[in-house]
């Protein structure tokens, strides 16, 4: 029953005039996808720079807090852009995403990535040296980085696979 109402929601949304306009004006979807991917570039590269610092691979001449201060805004600020452009793509083809298991997976992975970013960020706000105080803390920081990177990789893969997996 829930699936049926999702079905009818998708058909209703696809029939709205907003959706019709996006579907008929050919350049809207590629343009919105371009903005989406540029915002993804900002988020993923920022996460990577922080993770590489947590692992001690890059930027080691600076404390973790300095790297985090530089790159964390570029993880959070593109998020509204990603949600807005993502919403436009959903409005254009509702069933393509909402009835697609890969899209649901992507949203789950996104929540996990946001959670792990906060797990790195919140302790730094209390104490900028938090992740550098002891060998144990440094190990946890490395674990956070090791968990974060595959999540972002999976989010990007899921995003691409939405185009290839049929809705249920």
């Amino acid at each position: 029953m829930a699936l049926q109402s999702l079905d009818s929601f998708c058909s209703w949304l696809a029939a709205t005039s907003v959706s019709q306009v996006i579907q008929t004006v050919g350049w809207v979807i590629p343009a919105v996808q371009t903005v989406h991917i540029l915002a993804v570039a900002a988020v993923v590269t920022s996460a990577l720079m922080i993770d590489l610092r947590l692992l001690g691979i890059r930027g080691t001449e600076q404390p973790i807090a300095a790297i985090a201060r530089r790159f964390l805004p570029f993880i959070w600020w593109p998020l509204p852009i990603l949600l807005a452009t993502g919403a436009i793509l959903i409005i254009a083809e509702p069933a393509r995403a909402l009835e697609n298991p890969v899209f649901i997976l992507k949203m789950g992975l996104l929540l996990a990535a946001a959670g792990i970013t906060l797990a790195c960020q919140i302790p730094l706000q209390r104490n900028p040296a938090f992740w550098e105080i002891s060998a144990g803390r440094k190990r946890v920081a490395r674990l956070i980085a090791v968990a974060s990177m595959p999540l972002w990789v999976a989010i990007i893969c899921a995003g691409r696979w939405i185009a290839y997996v049929q809705g249920t």
């Binding site: 343009a31 996808q33 890059r58 691409r160 696979w161």
Partner: protein, 166 residues
């Protein structure tokens, strides 16, 4: 002549496997997207520092030294995966307007970067703050940023003008 070469590229077993397989093309695309986001994102870090908008407490040299190895690693992956995607339908891509412009734009970004590293970055070790960063460096950064945004757009448009899922 060129078409013959493209056809034989497209007929190689690996290109055929990518074209005819169910999952190879999308997986290579995943790596391509992943690589290009890191390429564009990391180049943007340098460009924004050259322009003077971010990393303002860092010198240009510090910024490029920590970021460019990441850029080049990702760029290698982007070229390899892009080459594989191209090979799978070489004759079609080669005649696609958006593909042609994209390659031209990448070449321009390359020239812009080479001009910077060969001639324009003299004295860069004293560019500690944006105020000390000369106009020519800001110009290189701004141009690079615009080129890479356009490269992303033209790349996305290829998919919409060639018969692949978008």
């Amino acid at each position: 002549m060129l078409d013959q070469f493209l056809q034989s590229l497209q007929d190689t077993s690996i290109a055929t496997a990518i074209r005819e397989g169910e999952t190879l093309f999308p997986w290579i695309e995943c790596v391509h997207v992943l690589a290009l986001t890191v390429v564009i994102g990391s180049i943007a870090i340098v460009d924004l520092r050259l322009i003077g908008l971010t990393s303002r407490d860092r010198s240009v040299i510090q910024t490029t030294a920590s970021v460019l190895p990441v850029t080049w690693t990702a760029f290698t992956f982007a070229v390899i995966t892009g080459g594989l995607l191209f090979a799978s339908n070489a004759t079609t891509y080669a005649h696609n307007f958006y593909f042609q412009v994209k390659i031209a734009l990448i070449a321009m970004a390359g020239v812009n970067m080479a001009a910077y590293h060969l001639f324009l970055n003299r004295g860069a070790d004293s560019w500690h703050t944006p105020q000390l960063t000369p106009f020519r460096a800001r110009l290189v950064g701004g141009l690079s940023l615009c080129l890479w945004i356009a490269i992303a757009a033209f790349g996305r448009w290829i998919g919409f003008t060639i018969n692949t899922p978008t």
